[in-house]
């Protein structure tokens, strides 16, 4: 056994691995946020609430209908995604021609409403949700005990990120980016932009819900779970470069790692560190690490 920075290497590896796992949540959440920002030019403040809805719906499916984790993994993103579609069609679409600020405020209001309603119905202490039996237990890696569920989280998140990134490289990605800049013109090229926007919002919301399903077994399922996370996820998106898919994925994982290291070396700073990095990045690279536009 050797030491790095005065820390036994084993502990270090353990912490880095954990950081990576956390990073997969950041990546997944910021991915949805980045997609939505990319196309709608809206900072989706309701993202945290939609993540929370994902976790709650998972719990509801189990307690009201006896539907377990695996089905939830499929059903919940679709259901919450549809909810997103409806929101977009009914409310958000009315703001497309305005400054981003209005979208941010609208979704902020929506977040308050959604969280409030859940709070009134379910309280704030949270609801129990167990780890699916097939994923119970864990692996002894020598330097740490790695629960199987965490392993699953990281694998699933990586594949979802990869898939999204590949989609972005396609024609669809170009449509999305172009429609962000000048929807009128893109529509005049024969693309049904309103539908594109609605579906994209639904997709982004679905990703948030997926993260919610994944979180239910390990984090407290309560109405505030998203609100606590959303600012950090914003920071990830900004550092990565607003709207950049690759940026938010890479930054999500990287910040998970950095946060993990800070938790070990100077835990008090572990939530501040993200904002310090954000400030530095914005000063040096105004459009974020992967952003192209200023």
């Amino acid at each position: 056994m050797f030491t790095i920075l005065g820390i036994p290497s084993q502990a270090l590896f353990g912490q880095l691995l954990l950081g990576l796992i956390n990073g997969s949540f950041y990546a997944l959440l910021s991915l949805g946020l980045a997609i939505i920002f990319g196309l709608l030019n809206i900072i989706n403040f309701a993202h945290g609430a939609q993540y929370m809805m994902g976790a709650f719906l998972t719990w509801m499916l189990l307690s009201y209908f006896g539907v377990g984790y695996w089905w939830a993994l499929l059903l919940v993103p679709v259901l919450v995604g549809i909810f997103g579609l409806v929101l977009e069609r009914l409310l958000i679409s009315r703001l497309h021609h305005l400054d981003h600020l209005y979208g941010l405020l609208l979704t902020f209001g929506l977040a308050l409403i959604i969280q409030g309603l859940f709070r009134i119905r379910y309280g704030v202490s949270g609801l129990p949700y167990g780890i699916p039996l097939t994923l119970a237990g864990g692996q002894n890696l020598g330097f740490m005990f790695l629960p199987n569920y965490r392993l699953w989280v990281i694998l699933l998140s990586l594949s979802v990120c990869l898939a999204t990134w590949l989609v972005e490289k396609t024609k669809l990605g170009a449509y999305l980016r172009a429609a962000t800049e000048n929807p009128t013109l893109v529509q005049a090229f024969g693309i049904n932009v309103p539908r594109l926007i609605t579906l994209t919002y639904g997709g982004g919301v679905g990703l948030a819900a997926l993260a919610g399903v994944m979180a239910a077994p390990i984090y407290s399922v309560n109405p505030n779970m998203g609100a606590d996370m959303i600012i950090t996820v914003f920071a990830v998106v900004v550092i990565g470069g607003m709207g950049s898919i690759a940026g938010s994925i890479v930054t999500g994982f990287a910040l998970g790692l950095i946060e993990g290291l800070t938790k070990l070396l100077y835990p008090e700073a572990s939530s501040t560190v993200i904002f310090i990095i954000m400030a530095i990045v914005l000063l040096l690279k105004p459009a974020g690490l992967f952003g192209r536009r200023v």
């Binding site: 172009a178 009128t184 024969g190 049904n192 536009r293």
Partner: protein, 238 residues
């Protein structure tokens, strides 16, 4: 103009259009036959751009009748109109900053076979081939104009709406574009061209419509342009 009607690809009648409160087009009408190049000439602010925007459906506040290939499109949304086979090259170019030159070029979906291939396009605009991987808006003003024209040539649209395609271009490029339009016409494209530069337009067009304060006030066949040159100058205030 009754004999024209049977072959007309685009027929605009009694077109009124508004920007918010301001009424810009007042019963404007003209026709374009299949395979023709027709220009809209007129002073600044006459309503030429507005006419094109109303046809493609970007400007939604419009009334009257616009028939394209037998379809009434006055109520249709712009994506539906584009899919019927109209390509639009806007005045402000509309190059996407977040897309590379290649992506900009490939953006408009191909709606029909018969468009130009990438190679043909690069042969037409060599500048673009060189800068194909750079960001769309990092091109110079003129290069952006080339890109804006180039990208609708790919789609196979039958009717091209070009809004001042030569603005800000070097003479050598203007000549190229002239040749291109000529070639496009030969291949059977129908083109509506908005131009300030009527010398350029005269080399290409079959007919010229004069737009003044939101109305078509005159139509001059290109064949008789020379005889009417004074009248034209009067219209354009040259």
């Amino acid at each position: 103009m009754g004999d024209v009607a049977s072959h007309s690809l685009l027929r605009v009648e009694g077109l009124d259009a508004w920007y918010g409160e301001s009424h810009v087009l007042h019963g404007l009408g003209f026709e374009v036959r299949d395979g023709e190049v027709v220009t809209l000439l007129g002073r600044n602010g006459a309503g030429k751009t507005t006419t094109l925007r109303a046809i493609i459906g970007i400007l939604r506040q419009r009334e009257g009748s616009i028939q394209f290939a037998g379809h009434e499109i006055i109520r249709a949304s712009s994506d539906a109109i584009a899919r019927l086979g109209i390509g639009y090259c806007p005045e402000e170019r509309g190059i996407f900053a977040s897309l590379s030159v290649r992506e900009n070029l490939l953006l408009p979906p191909v709606i029909r076979p018969g468009g130009l291939s990438l190679d043909q396009i690069f042969a037409l605009f060599p500048n673009l081939r060189e800068r194909v991987d750079s960001q769309g808006t990092k091109l110079s003003g003129g290069e952006q104009q080339m890109l804006a024209i180039a990208r609708i040539l790919r789609t196979g649209a039958r009717l091209l709406l070009l809004d001042e395609p030569t603005e800000g271009l070097a003479p050598v490029i203007i000549k190229q574009i002239g040749r291109t339009i000529h070639e496009l016409k030969r291949q059977g494209f129908t083109i509506v061209l908005v131009e300030q530069n009527f010398r350029f337009a005269a080399q290409l067009a079959d007919r010229h419509y004069i737009v003044e304060q939101g109305r078509v006030v005159d139509m001059i066949e290109n064949a008789v342009l020379d005889r009417n040159i004074d009248k034209l100058h009067a219209y354009l205030g040259v």
